[in-house]
Symmetry: C2
Subunit: 430 residues, 2 copies
């Protein structure tokens, strides 16, 4: 039974604040253990990877090799049925087309003084992609991380994926190949992150590490940050569905459960102006749970973190959605455009009744790596820009330097930085 | 005496690696102390700010008020001499013009299937700007942080600046006013960061915190990350100067010292193909140090971290510059364009003999908040995009959903996510 809120209730603001402040993740303190693992990999390289993989994944990399061979990848691809392979290809192509539009343009111009200014964008030279093992080993996530890197022009894309008990998901290898990943290593955990950051005899270090992982992986990414760049630390998934009375409660329930089945810490929230729809959706959720293979997970998520917020008017949902700042926002209303135009904090918005969030997970083309835990207030989903960096340029001749020198020297003096002033003045005999 | 390297020497690669690996910052372990301060501010709000400011800044905020009044700001502005004020205005205007070109464009389009896709950019709703007190209280940095936020459209820009012994730099207040800062509070340290992140009775919380600070401020920013966004953690400043034989050694020496005077941990590196220039620059550095007010700082920086790298051909400097990934790169050569085109890892590039890096510090128009400590390999200088976030959109009708449903359902099945498949199938009776 999800939480029920009503904006008309006297205690709404307090209860809504509680909803926003809900801690959905227990942050395990694994920093010490991770520190030791990172140190071992830095000091012993491959030997540490072999030892730690024996310990944690029960796999002998001495025998299998740290790197996954071209033959293994080809075998994995061959084992994927044609329908699934075609679906991965379609997803890859749509993600690529969409992300190609995100490529930034260089800028160079001359201002009224004759000063040349500009920005040059270049790709990060090498990127490491972490892919979890076991049940969270999603081929779709491989595409969502690797394709934008490829579009950005990253020259070397390295993937790491653990193989617990020697098992690898062939779909993940097939997706990596489809996305253009250059090297794949069968390692995981903090040791894989350390290997990507510092390198070993077998693995050359990368400049940036992306991709989701467990508490150990997240802690390792935080620890190596600075040595390399990292992406955001992803939390459990969320959906906010804004729905008017004219929805089929079963459709909305299915969307809420699609989010809830990910993780017991996932969160599904419905905002509606219809008490009837709210009641029907709750019933439909229960009905659908009865036949859901991952019902246990979904039920716990819905029970602990699910919420239905009743509003007097759907226009109220804009301010609420901006405060919730959901990773995914569905606008299941007759005309979603005004709401879409008004909302500012959301990772991705899905407009209209025929755009379930799940399309965005797989084949919409937009990225499914999105800001969680209200971070859409200040950050964006993964994209091409995450794999590029901007270098600014300035170019002056003697005339331009003469024009700007007085102000620069005045400010240098005001800041007490005499060598700064001299660096300008010496060129003009000032 | 700086380090001397020669790419022709047998031990070059080893010594160059040592140069890259040099630790220039002692990372103070202040995490525990900062944790206590953040907790105090969260629990006691203004009262904690008042108590901690008494303790650390020797200032009574109960009497002065936490917020700096409009009258104080006006008085500060009036106290600034006309020349300096005009220089700040020029800097502000040039920074604004340049950054206006960085405003991203929304994108919305319909693909061949009729699916609507796109990206919408919106400003972060509120931003906090940390400004250090004392000698590192730079009005130029206020402009460099606040103006891009303003250009991005941030609705509320809040500045915090400590006032040790009650002292405030009037230039910093004047710059804040010029940049359009909305609120200024006389608080600093970890307590100011906590107040911005969590809010107090007087200060409403912000969504993102930017700006440089000491070890306590940096640790506090790391701790509140997630609750709010943060910018990069800035390290000590760096310049790499690539110079051919035809340079005036005094100009190059002045540029190296302009960087070195910032901080004993700053780093100035010269790459040249001329042993004569190298020798003359070293002499010029010593000569100029004799008359430099901040000579002690600059001498320590040059002695401990300065370096001169002799190359056989300046074309070698591209690969070295990419590995150094300097915050600032000066190309003091006859034709800087081919080198500029080839280099990929640098925060900002200054082209030609008449573009000293100092122009970029103040009035060039580009941003002086740039990636340090080799992070230009994976990150960019501060810009308008740091104050905005992108929301993706997807919009399908029944026909588009029908076209994409099979692939989405196939992938959902492959990933074992049945509720995902249902969320699509239920809309089409599949």
């Amino acid at each position: 039974m999800a939480i029920r809120l009503d904006t008309a209730a006297a205690d709404f603001e307090a209860r809504f604040r509680d909803l926003l402040a809900m801690k959905r993740e227990v942050s395990e303190d694994v920093d010490q253990a991770v520190r030791a693992i990172v140190r071992a990999v830095r000091e012993q390289g491959d030997a540490a990877l072999i030892e730690l993989s024996k310990k944690f994944d029960r796999v002998d990399l001495d025998k299998l090799g740290i790197r996954i061979s071209a033959a293994e990848i080809a075998a994995a691809r061959a084992s994927v049925d044609a329908e699934t392979y075609a679906a991965l290809e379609l997803a890859r192509d749509r993600i690529r087309s969409h992300h190609e539009r995100q490529r930034p343009k260089d800028d160079r111009y001359t201002d009224a003084l004759g000063v040349e200014l500009g920005s040059k964008w270049t790709a990060v030279q090498s990127v490491g992609l972490y892919v979890p093992g076991g049940t969270a080993s999603y081929p779709s996530s491989v595409l969502m991380n690797a394709v934008p890197a490829k579009v950005a022009g990253v020259g070397r894309i390295v993937m790491v994926v653990p193989s617990p008990d020697g098992k690898l998901n062939p779909l993940v290898l097939a997706a990596a190949e489809l996305a253009g990943v250059d090297e794949i290593y069968r390692i995981g955990g903090a040791q894989a992150v350390a290997a990507l950051a510092y390198g070993t005899e077998t693995i050359a270090p990368v400049a940036k590490i992306v991709g989701p992982g467990n508490a150990y992986v997240a802690a390792a990414k935080r620890q190596v940050f600075g040595q390399v760049g990292i992406d955001m630390i992803a939390g459990p998934s969320e959906v906010l569905v804004v729905a008017d009375a004219a929805n089929d409660p079963d459709w909305i329930a299915a969307d809420l459960l699609a989010q809830a089945e990910h993780d017991t810490a996932a969160q599904s929230i419905l905002i509606t102006d219809s008490p009837e729809l709210a009641a029907e959706v709750e019933k439909a959720v229960e009905r659908q749970l009865a036949t859901l293979p991952r019902a246990e997970t979904a039920r716990a998520s819905w029970r602990d973190f699910g919420a239905i917020i009743l509003v007097g008017d759907l226009a109220e949902s804009v301010a609420l959605a901006d405060r919730i700042a959901a990773e995914h926002l569905e606008l299941a209303v007759e005309d979603p455009e005004p709401l879409f135009a008004a909302v500012t904090n959301a990772g991705a918005v899905f407009l209209g009744r025929y755009t379930p969030e799940v399309i965005g997970d797989y084949v919409g083309g937009s990225n499914h790596v999105l800001p969680t835990a209200r971070s859409a207030r200040f950050s964006s989903g993964l994209g091409v820009l995450d794999f590029m960096k901007r270098t600014s340029l300035l170019k002056l001749g003697p005339d331009q330097l003469r024009a700007l020198a007085p102000a620069a020297m005045t400010l240098a003096k005001a800041e007490g930085l005499d060598a700064h002033g001299r660096s300008v003045g010496i060129r003009l005999n000032l």
